[in-house]
């Protein structure tokens, strides 16, 4: 993804556009999957918790 395209997407996501939020989540899903492993296994509850926190806190990110 081009840098300008990312800035636009992030700005929309921070403003609360759910479609952009979804795209950001998809973009960062590998990072979420990496961190939601406990003892080598993906913990679905933890993944869900992470996604909820990201959606809730996204608006706090200052561009």
């Amino acid at each position: 993804m081009e840098a300008n395209e990312f800035r636009l997407l992030l700005t929309k996501a921070v403003a609360g556009d759910m479609e952009s939020v979804e795209k950001i989540l998809l973009l960062y899903m590998p990072m979420v999957n990496k961190h939601c492993r406990i003892n080598g296994y993906i913990d679905e509850d933890l993944r869900q918790e992470m996604l909820i926190h990201i959606v809730k806190n996204l608006k706090k990110f200052k561009i």
Binding site: A3, N4, F6, R7, L10, Y28, M31, V32, H35, C36, I38, N39, D43, D45, L46, E49, M50, H53, I54, N57, F61, I63
Partner: protein, 133 residues
Amino acid sequence: MNYHNGEKNNDRLRGEFTAWLEKLVIRVKLDYIRKHPRYLDVISIDELSEETLSAYDDKPKLNPAGFDFDDVKLEEAFMKLTVLRRRILTMLFVDEMTPEEIAGVLGCTIEAVYNNRSRALKKLREALRKEDE
């Protein structure tokens, strides 16, 4: 080359956002592990390997796994540190873990990790200075 063009700034934005998001995700994970004690491993002492048990000996063996000491004095000074401080230094400098991750593993605050780190390094410095005098 202009380092302040739009492209560069946006790359920085992406980097900042990635770092922010990773911090958030790690914090959620640590909170989650604390709230779910089932993830704290409980095993019988018989199942522990000799290598693990030897780490708790009164007189620890020299050269713990991971550190490759060139200096014998440094190695001796390191072994005089408490088990906790040795573990923190090993996790920081050998395993290259962040203070946040170490705090999660040890179940203490990040400040405690920083405090123990600086006190351990101070002890090492003092021990080496004494040896030199």
